[in-house]
């Protein structure tokens, strides 16, 4: 790797680390400054003073705040986010159980976003002011102004209840055993173990929630792709390709789309964050047993360790995705890539 990319990568990683430390401090502070004794809240009003004191000791609540934070960081780094005060299991185990369902949902939504949004954007740019272009305008406006839970309710009403094309809730139909847990993503596990009926069932269950989650992003992706592809269509190299008489499809995919992918990828990273949050809403509507449901339960039960753990894991995921996006952008952009090759060679 060339020096420029390496330094920018290190700088990026350092920034992300700084942000993650900041997030942990922020969440930790919010968790500790709440009115009331966390131990008392966790144990409920019927606990004896002795029990409360014991829990305070275990949670390091009697130490000064910086010591508590240091303890918290040490334990987090060892993969210990404490016990859930509600499920009585380690928070890490709980998150490990619920995270795959959410990831599967977000992943499918991401695929839908790209698979629908990007082609729509390219078509809109190719046939400017045509009906696809108007559709994209409408879609992006509708995507931005409609709350995710409203999409979820409308899609459920239309496609699950009225048309009955898709199941109403859950990850699998009743009586279908979940596939052996390799990754925790039911669709992927079913494919890996060759259970195609289970795979089909899991896919029909995920279509509606994933679509509801993706709607905001589809419009944005299409809008952005349209803008950058339209720009690319005006460049000399595309005009030259047209003059050579290359087929339309080749011009669209090889010449117009590739430079347009860079801004799209950047927005994908941002949308991923929004989707991790909005997954809470979709999971609530479709009774999807994911991290969001766990998080809401944790919040309603004032389960401090579980809330802190959930937020930390989601933020870490968001940071990782954004670093991956940055790396992909750097790799896609010939200016950065070639500069490296020159520097290395």
């Amino acid at each position: 790797m060339g020096p420029s990319l390496l330094t920018s990568l290190i700088r990026r990683l350092w920034m992300s680390l700084l942000v993650l430390i900041g997030v942990s401090m922020l969440i930790f502070c919010i968790a500790r400054v709440i009115p009331g004794d966390p131990a008392r809240i966790a144990l409920g009003p019927n606990a004896t003073q002795e029990q409360v004191d014991l829990l305070r000791e275990r949670l390091h609540l009697n130490d000064p705040l910086p010591v508590q934070y240091a303890e918290f960081v040490k334990e987090s780094l060892q993969g210990d986010l404490g016990m859930s005060l509600y499920t009585n299991r380690p928070v890490v185990t709980d998150i490990g159980d619920f995270l795959p369902a959410t990831l599967e949902l977000v992943l499918f939504a991401g695929i839908l976003m790209v698979a629908i949004g990007v082609p729509l954007g390219v078509l809109a740019a190719r046939y400017r002011d045509g009906w696809v272009d108007n559709l994209v305008r409408l879609l992006s406006l509708a995507g931005v102004v409609t709350p995710t839970f409203v999409w979820a309710v409308f899609l459920m009403l239309g496609f699950a209840f009225f048309l009955e094309w898709f199941p109403v809730a859950g990850r699998l139909s009743e009586g279908v055993p979940p596939p052996p847990g390799i990754t925790g993503l039911y669709t992927l596990d079913a494919l890996l173990t060759g259970r195609f009926a289970t795979f089909a069932d899991a896919v029909t269950h995920i279509v509606l929630p994933a679509t509801a989650l993706a709607m905001t992003g589809i419009g944005q992706t299409a809008r952005l792709t349209r803008a950058s592809v339209a720009q690319a269509y005006d460049t000399p190299y595309v005009h030259m390709a047209e003059a050579y008489g290359y087929p339309e499809g080749r011009i669209a995919s090889r010449y117009a789309l590739r430079p347009a992918m860079i801004p799209t990828l950047t927005i994908l990273g941002l949308d991923f964050a929004a989707m991790l949050g909005n997954a809470f809403l979709v999971e609530a509507v479709f009774a999807w047993p994911g991290l969001a449901r766990y998080g809401v339960q944790a919040i309603l039960h004032k389960d401090l360790n579980a809330i802190v753990g959930t937020v930390l894991v989601i933020s870490a995921f968001f940071l990782i995705v954004n670093i991956l996006v940055d790396l992909t952008v750097a790799w896609l952009n010939p200016r950065i890539r070639l500069e490296n090759r020159r520097a290395a060679g």
Binding site: L20, L26, I30, P147, I314
Partner: protein, 283 residues
């Protein structure tokens, strides 16, 4: 500032765009309904804890255009009062978030150095937690009340204004008029508030118009999850949540409040876009 946007030329440009006019109309409609709620709602007493089991779960009809809910309250009346809560929430949230964000952003952009680094890293931290998750986490540690809900949403909103003001302050502080003020020995508060701030305000006000819709959207998302306004307060998000539990039979209970949220967000969005277009071409 806003007056400057709406000089006769600006108004002419704004008026020529039909979408902006639709936005203005929708916003006017929503605001009027919210302000005049006790007068325009068919059954004002249904806004609170009112019970009429005889008329419970009725589909839309002439006397109840949006139907009635589980305890017989008129959904239309509750939607109108829901707008009151939503708008108030939007105004209060931005009333807290905008001064904090703009103040910190201006300071970071003007002073630079350590102040810049510290403030903008804090902004990065806030922006790297998915917004809804941050608000939920804050709500998780507090009691789910209207006041706490507003604080939680404000906490996730100020960093955006800090970024906006920061970028503007950075570019403005290199302008000649700021240098001139510095040379004649104007105090730092004077430069920040009287010189730089006025130039940021048009952009800030446009963003506020756009954001009012989004604050309503996020706040309704929070209360949809049961982490915001609590019943019997008529809140659009919790009305959708309650109605969603009785799909598809009592569809009107979820669909009309959902459409109501959509109309409000759409209105502010179109209006904000229209204002931005006017300002962009005005320069």
């Amino acid at each position: 500032m806003i007056a400057a946007v709406f000089n006769s030329r600006g108004w002419y440009k704004f008026r020529r765009n039909p979408l902006s006019m639709v936005g203005l109309f929708l916003v006017a409609l929503v605001v009027l309904m919210a302000v005049l709620a006790p007068l325009v709602a068919p059954y004002p007493q249904h806004a609170g804890a009112f019970v009429d089991f005889v008329n419970a779960s009725q589909p839309p009809s002439w006397s109840n255009p949006f139907g009635t809910d589980l305890v017989g309250r008129d959904v239309l009346s509750r939607v109108i009062f829901g707008y009151q809560i939503s708008l108030m929430l939007g105004v209060v949230v931005l009333g807290i978030a905008v001064p904090i964000g703009v103040g910190l952003g201006l300071a970071a952009g003007y002073f630079g150095g350590v102040v810049d680094y510290v403030i903008m890293r804090v902004v990065d931290v806030f922006l790297s937690i998915p917004p809804l998750v941050l608000a939920m986490a804050i709500m998780g540690f507090l009691e789910p009340t209207l006041t706490n809900g507003m604080m939680a949403v404000a906490a996730m909103w100020w960093p955006w204004y800090a970024r906006l003001a920061y970028n503007m302050a950075r570019s403005e502080s290199r302008e000649g008029y700021v240098l001139a003020a510095e040379v004649i020995g104007a105090s730092t508060p004077h430069i920040l508030i009287r010189e730089i701030l006025p130039n940021c305000l048009p952009a800030v006000f446009t963003k506020i118009t756009l954001d009012l819709g989004f604050v309503i959207l996020i706040a309704s998302s929070l209360s949809f999850l049961g982490l915001g306004v609590q019943p019997p307060t008529p809140d659009l998000g919790s009305m959708v949540a309650e109605g969603a539990r009785y799909l598809p039979d009592n569809w009107w209970m979820a669909v009309f409040p959902a459409l109501a949220i959509l109309v409000a967000v759409l209105g502010f969005n179109l209006l904000g876009d229209g204002l931005r277009d006017v300002m962009d071409t005005d320069r």
